[in-house]
Symmetry: C2
Subunit: 490 residues, 2 copies
């Protein structure tokens, strides 16, 4: 739905002083409270060139406590950024809890520039708009309110200001694609912008058209919208409030895991030979990958004691350390906890040509966080779609994804736990928590089944690896990665 | 001093099993304790190509808990990295407290490659080596132990292995400059490497030459050195232990501050005219800066209430938000606290063509941290040289630095505090802490005097700005920045 411009009445200088003096202490008070609140605010500032975006950036920093505001101005994407998912650079800059992020030239700018330049086909243009809606809905659901301001000025005023810009020595149009002058760009982008505004004018994150033809009017309108948003942010409760550990089901809908044949074994001789052959093959492929624009993400999940660490070590055994990184995810740091749960996974993605390995991953949301009740039911139920969308974005920017569930039987787990307790240098690997998790085997199994069913997609399928025999599991992992890389590199 | 190779005796397979079984649980136990310790370990892994560095990376990850180790493999610097201070990318990757950083192809590799390529003049080569020593001493002083391993193999063995490498399809020499083959690079770099090893073989961070001609011997040697280092790291006390707030001096050695004439004023008409002229000039210069390879860092320090925020707002008043960022430094986050105190300032530097503004800065170490006793006397005394070195590195990579101390009298401060308490929307700006700081005026003044004296360098001088009159102070700041940019851009 096309966002509407609300009619406003011009204000006199006296009215302005009076109204802004009323507004400013309330803004500051609300902003001060936000600092310790469980929410954050993301402001998008859009509008034609010359509409006064720079002035509004300064206004917001002036009327709020600038220490709590991070203004992020995005330039056109660099070559390196262009090889990442389009949302990658924005994820890095999302505001932490208690803070305001002011985005200037953000995902709304990118898409217009690319569409006008003809780099964006109709279908992809539409998908990108839908993805913006998805991301904003996700952020709002996790207490980041999204305030979208579009500075509007009338046609004649636009022409007047843009002509002035063109005569201006400060070269504002350097940011425009193909060195279009502001007026040309405006003409070329008008229709695109209108479609974008209409399609991203959603219930959870509507556009606010601000009449920017006159400064006083504009400032008061921005100030009031800001105050409304801050006050709404302060009213929000933590989305995980009232979360409870998932009940432990007595009977399980046996599905994928029960069907896994845990019998296969590889004796040591066979294992050594296949290990060497596959590692050698993978090393070759990793150099080919390095020369390509693709990258690889391997996700490792599995029961405690299933041998994730050992499988990862064999996987990277022949790789040049410059080509891969292993990130182990356990409890998040303070900074990570203050962000959306997917933030820390976006943070550790690797650039083109490289291999990222996640030892535990974003699937924690629908596994341990579900079972232990760190995430509320609405949160983890929502997460399946969020995760699929995250992975889809990676796939679209040429990331090959291999996801492994290392599966063992409860009996095998018990045997391994006991063995670990006996071997001095393995004792550190077993904790009271592992024993507790074991007691919740059924609850975990239900979570794993749901995960396998709901996040097994064509472009990012799960491989369930029978891991009662370590040799067999390690070779399975290697073979799978080799096969997936061969598909795209050869 | 040239590091010496310790003679070791080859071990049999049985001896190896026995000795590694003794070593591994002790390594794991020490590593587990490190997690909650107040120290970290940085490992540098060097040696000729083919000496087995990759194998040692895997060994370390295998013998320790890999979740506590971050292996960082540095490629040749990208164009963007080359325009930063050489140490910039390494600072981002330094291990946090409780962790082990394993650097592979690090500052020791860069310098050899650049020297062999002829990009590094003798004088700069020497300066870079000294800078490595400075940085390592700094890290050790703040509880990051530095373990430097050089894998050594005899001449014939080197030739043999490098010839093998060259026949090897895995193209290891792709990392070498100017596409030298490994053997050529080895010959060209031998002398450089030897000088580098000798000059960076320091007491606080000595090189350990590991005989890598045989794997068992090598593994045990690496394991033992690792254990020694971990155990030493566990014995370290916090460097700020026993720190006390600085005593409040009764009489002050009146120096620079007392000589500041606080009388100058600018009436509003003059102010408006000069503000506009200087802002316009600065906007022009900022675009020229954007086209250059230089960047600008403005550091703002000053008494509470001296008007830092207002001066910063006027400074950026005419700048395109894409060209600058303002970072306000208050209490560090958890992640920041777990790193060297300079880490968070390295983190927020801007790339070439851009302007970074620090609202409070790395000088907190010698100001509030000294006065409040957050840093021990040895720490803040050491910091003057550390800060000068930090700034010198920036200057060498074409950063223009403007440092401002905004100076007001205690009477003016009192007047402003009282006024703030009266104006509703300024009330948030004044806290009990501000009043406490005021009581320690003399202690702060002594710290400021020392700072001005010890960190006022030719390439990064302090500007003490008389700020009793806000108009005057704001114009002084703008004029200074304009003047410094004109010097280098015109």
């Amino acid at each position: 739905m096309k966002p509407q411009l609300k009619p406003v009445r011009p204000v006199t200088a006296e009215e302005y002083d009076e109204q802004s003096e009323d507004l400013r202490p309330r803004l500051l008070a609300a902003h001060a409270k936000l600092r310790t609140a469980n929410s954050s605010v993301l402001i998008h500032l859009g509008g034609v060139d010359g509409a006064g975006k720079g002035a509004v950036v300064r206004l917001i920093n002036d009327w709020l406590d600038p220490r709590g505001v991070t203004t992020v101005a995005f330039d056109l994407a660099t070559d390196d950024e262009q090889r990442r998912p389009p949302m990658w650079r924005y994820w890095q800059a999302l505001p932490a809890r208690g803070r305001i992020g002011l985005f200037f030239g953000s995902w709304y700018r990118d898409i217009v520039v690319e569409r006008v330049s003809g780099d964006l086909k109709r279908k992809i243009f539409e998908r990108r708009m839908d993805r913006i809606n998805t991301l904003e809905r996700m952020l709002v659901a996790e207490n980041t309110l999204v305030l979208k301001l579009w500075l509007h000025i009338g046609k004649d005023e636009v022409r007047h200001r843009l002509e002035h810009l063109e005569e201006n020595p400060e070269l504002h149009w350097r940011w425009l694609p193909k060195k279009l002058a502001p007026l040309e760009f405006y003409r070329a982008s008008k229709e695109v912008s209108e479609e974008l505004l209409a399609r991203t004018n959603t219930r959870h994150a509507p556009w606010h058209m601000v009449d920017a033809s006159e400064n006083r009017m504009r400032n008061l309108a921005v100030g009031r919208l800001l105050l409304e948003t801050l006050e709404a942010a302060l009213r929000l409760k933590s989305p995980s409030q009232g979360a409870k550990p998932a009940p432990i089901p007595k009977t399980l809908p046996k599905r994928r895991l029960a069907a896994v044949d845990l019998a296969p074994k590889l004796d040591d001789d066979w294992y050594e030979r296949r290990l060497e052959r596959n590692q050698h093959r993978l090393a070759d492929l990793s150099w080919k990958l390095a020369d390509s624009r693709r990258s690889l993400l391997c996700v490792f999940e599995g029961w405690d004691g299933a041998g994730k660490g050992g499988a990862i070590r064999r996987l990277v055994g022949s790789l040049d350390p410059r080509l891969f990184s292993v990130t182990s995810y356990s409890a998040p740091t303070d900074e990570e906890r203050a962000h959306h749960y997917l933030w820390r996974f976006w943070r550790h993605l690797q650039g083109p040509g490289r291999i990222a390995i996640f030892d535990r991953s974003h699937y924690g949301r629908v596994l341990v966080e579900r079972v232990e009740g760190f995430a509320a039911e609405t949160q983890w139920k929502r997460a399946y779609a969020e995760i699929n969308d995250f992975e889809q974005q990676l796939v679209e920017s040429k990331v090959v994804i291999c996801k492994f569930w290392l599966h063992i039987s409860p009996e095998e787990q018990l045997r391994r736990f006991k063995k670990r307790e006996e071997v001095p240098f393995k004792r550190y690997k077993i904790t009271a928590e592992d024993w507790r998790n074991r007691d919740k085997w059924n609850a975990h199994e239900a979570a794993v089944e749901d995960m396998l069913q709901r996040t097994h997609t064509e472009s990012a399928p799960w491989t369930v690896v029978p891991a009662n025999d370590k040799n067999f599991a390690r070779i399975e992992v290697l073979k799978t990665v080799v096969r997936e890389l061969e598909k795209v590199l050869e």
